[in-house]
Amino acid sequence: MKKQRIDYGSLKSKIGNVEVTTGAVLESTGSTSKTKTGAWRSLRPLVDDKKCIGCGRCWTYCPEGCVHKKAEKVFQVDYDYCKGCGICANECPVKAITMVMEEK
């Protein structure tokens, strides 16, 4: 396959005041780093460091990859993207994670 380059400007058109592109193609990538989906959360997982045994189950089970391993046996929740599903709290064998209502 030959190397192709898309003339992105040629994909743009305007209907009224709204700019669209052919097939809704976007030139920018990485929009996820700008859109913090953690705002969807209504329950926030709080980790009690005293109870945590560093087993890493929360890290394994988080469906969104929002528990980060900071060091050996040290795990931290990424609140920018955590949607508060509560799976980590459910899986924690020592009940070190509690889900608390988000408040403004």
Partner: protein, 386 residues
């Protein structure tokens, strides 16, 4: 050769990069032959053996989004299983080519021909072209890529052919030289979707309420604009590859094919292989002095309103012969013919004749009867020809 193999031959010659298909009767012969071509090295394509039709169309979507030419084919339940992805393909404006070997939908399970499968997908944003003969199968398959990949169109396309009654029937057809096909249809050059690390793009993003309507409108505009492109491509192909075998295709392809319509008072409107039988009956009726003709619809999506209006302008009685239905309403083609006649302020009497569902033979007698009923007029709007 059988019409299925006319399609395989055409697909070989348009040199797809990716073929992904799941076998289903009566489409099987097409993809069976294609897999042989790939195995023998006659086609350089990647043949992806998928586990379902949903996977087949999804694989084609992924392939086409990287900027290559993709092909798939299916029938009936297989097309129904693709349904969700059809809208994604057209919304992303990916010019995938597909062959639909038309077959009835379950239940009851039935492997034989009618048009319910592709008619159910008429609103999916795919172009739809229908073939009557093996030659048309070949030609439309080559042309569908030229149309779909046109930068002002960029919409996927389906070519429909009747299962068994056309797909498994042996007919002579002409195959042009590979070089001439290459001239007509050069390599696909993507203009809006590629997979290229040096120019990363986001394909298929979310369309918020602020943009969704506008994006849909661009798709509808492209579909409407494609009428002109189709006409141009049809003409170019017809000139480049003149008809070689009499009666296997129109001299010049057009959205519709008119048969003895010049002074017609009664007209049949139909799609697909049944048109052959209708033409035979018309010949007999004409020899008895009846002013009767046929309008065959080749381009069904986009719907060629103006061409049909022009063709049906002076006709007094119209029989829309359909192998599809919409329970609770009339046949899809009938409804659209009525709507364009209303716009044209025509006072023609239009009736809907449901024929050939689930492979029921449409005999010359049926067609003769339809003519008699249409000519006489004043009957039920929808008649079933059992």
């Amino acid at each position: 050769m059988e019409a299925s193999h006319a399609i395989s031959e055409a697909v070989k010659m348009i040199k797809p990069d990716v073929i992904a298909a799941y076998p289903i009767t009566p489409q099987t012969h097409i993809v069976e032959r294609l897999s042989e071509y790939v195995a023998n090295g006659e086609i350089g394509a990647e043949y992806i053996r998928v586990e379902s039709e949903f996977a087949a169309i999804s694989a084609c979507l992924g392939a086409e989004a990287t900027g290559v030419r993709a092909y798939t084919s299916t029938s009936s339940q297989g097309l129904a299983l693709m349904f969700e992805v059809l809208f994604i393909v057209s919304g992303m404006r990916l010019p995938i080519g597909m062959t639909v070997v038309n077959r009835a939908l379950s239940a009851p399970i039935n492997i034989w021909n009618d048009h319910q499968d592709s008619m159910s997908c008429r609103d999916s944003g795919w172009l739809q072209l229908y073939a009557e003969t093996a030659q048309e199968c070949f030609d439309l398959t080559v042309m569908q890529y030229k149309i779909s990949e046109n930068k002002d169109v960029l919409l996927p396309s389906m070519v429909g052919l009747d299962g068994f009654t056309l797909s498994h029937v042996y007919e002579p057809f002409f195959i042009p030289e590979q070089k001439e096909i290459d001239d007509f249809l050069p390599e696909y050059v993507p203009t809006h979707a590629i997979l290229e690390p040096e120019q990363p793009l986001t394909l298929g993003p979310i369309g918020f309420p602020s943009h969704y309507m506008e994006l849909r409108k661009t798709q509808v505009d492209a579909m409407e604009g494609s009428l002109k492109v189709i006409e141009k491509v049809f003409k170019e192909y017809s000139e480049k590859f003149p008809a070689q075998i009499k009666g296997t295709r129109p001299e010049t392809y057009y959205h519709i094919e008119e048969y003895k319509m010049d002074d017609a008072q009664v007209a049949f409107v139909a799609i697909g292989s049944v048109c052959g039988s209708i033409k035979d009956v018309i010949d007999v009726l004409r020899s008895k002095g009846e002013k009767v003709g046929l309008v065959k619809i080749v381009t069904y999506r986009p719907f060629p309103m103006e061409a049909l209006k022009k063709s049906l302008k002076n006709v007094k009685k119209i029989a829309v012969v359909e192998k599809a239905l919409s329970p609770g309403a009339n046949g899809p083609v009938f409804e659209e013919i009525c709507s364009l006649l209303f716009e044209a302020k025509s006072d023609a009497e239009v009736r809907n004749f449901i024929v050939g569902l689930g492979g029921r033979d449409v005999k010359l007698d049926h067609i003769q009867k339809i003519f008699d009923m249409a000519k006489k007029g004043a009957g039920k709007k929808q008649e079933w020809m059992f």
